[in-house]
Amino acid sequence: METSRPVVVKRMPEKVNQLEARAFFADVQPFVTADRPQLVFDLSQVKQLDAAGIEMLLRCVEEVMKRDGDLKLASLSRQARMVLELTRTDRLFEIYENSTEAARSFSGFLPNAMQSIPSYSQREAAPTEMAA
């Protein structure tokens, strides 16, 4: 399970609109198009995320999957989480509490660091998301 390939961690900007998304994609493109890329996007600073930002994330994951790599998300801000849940894009990604854990997760499974895993109370049927 150990991997010697590098893990690239990129922090996303505060605003991810069309312009910023394009600039961010241009920035990460060399890593995305590498052989079997291992990427982590840190969304801790994201305050605004619109359709262009989501589109950019989808494009990145598509490119990464084509090359047999993976893209994981870390440190989601509340705003980023809201938009990802609204667009149901969150289920496409492994989401971690912080980028260190996300980077480590490429080498081994870290069940305790994962977010967004549903939990069902034994007394109540309605699912709840496990909090960070």
Binding site: E55, L110, P111, P127
Partner: protein, 392 residues
């Protein structure tokens, strides 16, 4: 010391809240006890039996009061323990007879447990507690209540008879209980089954997926066919001889059990697909347990029986029937597609979301469906595209 065990399956349990009536789906799914359903590639019963065997209990009897004809019940039978089907009316009587047989055979201590709950109890401390306390009967107690898990002294047949005649509800002599702090899941509803799956994937239980971890948190068993443009998001489990077709997404603690098929473009999120189940194309399965022509939604606490072949259907248990089944689907599919090509026109073709060819990577767009993406501003390029469609 000669220690043996009797495992009771499909024996009716009782709700903790005795004032409410027991629902039809209590401790079972489509009539199959939850204890016989597989969790990450192996029935819960096998997990329990293996645990008892690892504690040195080699002589095990399983009494099954559930309908024995289901293929999942057949799956749970194994050579290394004695299996006996009993009728539900004679179930407790049969348990009593089995206890007598074990006691006559020289058993000094007999564990009697009902599945029922899945509990990870340390057997050696339990037996030591029973001996130290000089109990005739010792019941195990968890943090959330009593468990149907007992240690009985082989020489105390009257105590055993009293306990079994009272359906494990009353002991002849009240004794000190053994308290466990191990993992316990009551396995009463489909939600409990989902919780056990997730807890096992997150390694909170001693259950480990039966398969190879080919990527951190993603386990795939032998014989599973996963097409190239499928996205598997950890943690998840793909069981043996399953097929996950192109464009699918398996995510958030989902489990696809053996010989199941997930058709093109379907999302399985936080759900369990039971063995020998077919899940149709383009579906979005969330917080559910599906199989045996039944869907149980944990989110809505509702169950639905369905026989629609485009949604959920059952795959035959025998390999010969599966081949015939696949051939018949192909025979039905080819002329249908030919007719569609000849008379269907272009509109029909564009209406069917075909998956991309397998050499391309996973396309997340149809799965994610960002709301804003579907509502584009009316730019000149969009108008040009609309005109093109109009001309067609």
């Amino acid at each position: 010391m000669d220690v043996r065990a009797v495992v009771l399956i499909g024996f009716p349990g009782e709700l903790n809240d005795s004032s409410s009536s027991v629902p039809e789906s209590f401790e079972n799914f489509a009539g199959v006890p939850l204890g016989l359903l597989p969790i990450l590639g192996q029935p819960v019963l096998h997990r329990v039996v293996d645990r008892l065997k690892s504690a040195g209990i080699d002589s095990l009897s399983v009494l099954n009061a559930a309908e024995p004809t289901s293929p999942l019940v057949e799956d749970a039978r194994r050579e290394d323990f004695k299996w006996q089907n009993v009728t539900s009316s004679q179930a407790w009587r049969a348990a009593e007879e089995e206890f007598d047989a074990l006691a006559r055979g020289g058993a000094e201590l007999v564990l009697v447990l009902r599945l029922g709950p899945y509990a990870e109890i340390e057997i050696d401390p339990l037996l030591q507690f029973h001996l130290d306390q000089r109990n005739h009967t010792t019941q195990v107690c968890a943090a959330d209540g009593l468990l149907d898990f007992f240690v009985l002294s082989g020489s105390r047949r009257n105590d055993a008879a009293f306990l079994l005649r009272n359906k494990l509800g009353k002991m002849r002599v009240q004794t000190r209980r053994f308290t466990t702090d191990g993992y316990v899941n009551r396995l009463q509803t489909a939600a409990d089954l989902r919780q056990l799956t997730i807890d096992s994937l997150l390694q909170k239980t001693s259950i480990r997926p039966n398969g190879e971890q080919f990527r951190p948190g993603v386990w795939v068993a032998s014989g599973a066919k996963i097409e190239r443009n499928v996205r598997l998001v950890a943690p998840c489990y793909i069981g043996p001889s399953t097929r996950v077709r192109s464009g699918s997404l398996i995510t958030r603690g989902s489990s696809i059990e053996h010989h199941s098929v997930v058709d093109c473009g379907t999302v399985v999120e936080a759900s369990t697909l039971l063995p020998l189940s077919y899940l149709g194309a383009g579906l979005d399965l969330v917080h559910s347990v599906v199989g045996l022509k039944r869907m149980s939604s944990v989110k809505y606490s509702a169950e639905l029986e369905t026989e629609d072949r485009s949604l959920v259907s059952v795959i035959p248990a025998s390999s010969l029937w599966r081949t015939v089944h696949d051939a018949s689907r192909l025979i039905a599919f080819v002329p249908h597609q030919l007719l569609k090509k000849l008379f269907g026109g272009r509109k029909l073709q564009s209406a069917v979301p075909y998956p991309e060819s397998s050499d391309k990577a996973f396309n997340p767009r149809p799965v994610a469906r960002p709301v804003a993406q579907e509502c584009q501003p009316l730019t000149s390029s969009v108008v040009t595209r609309m005109r093109e469609y109009g001309n067609q």
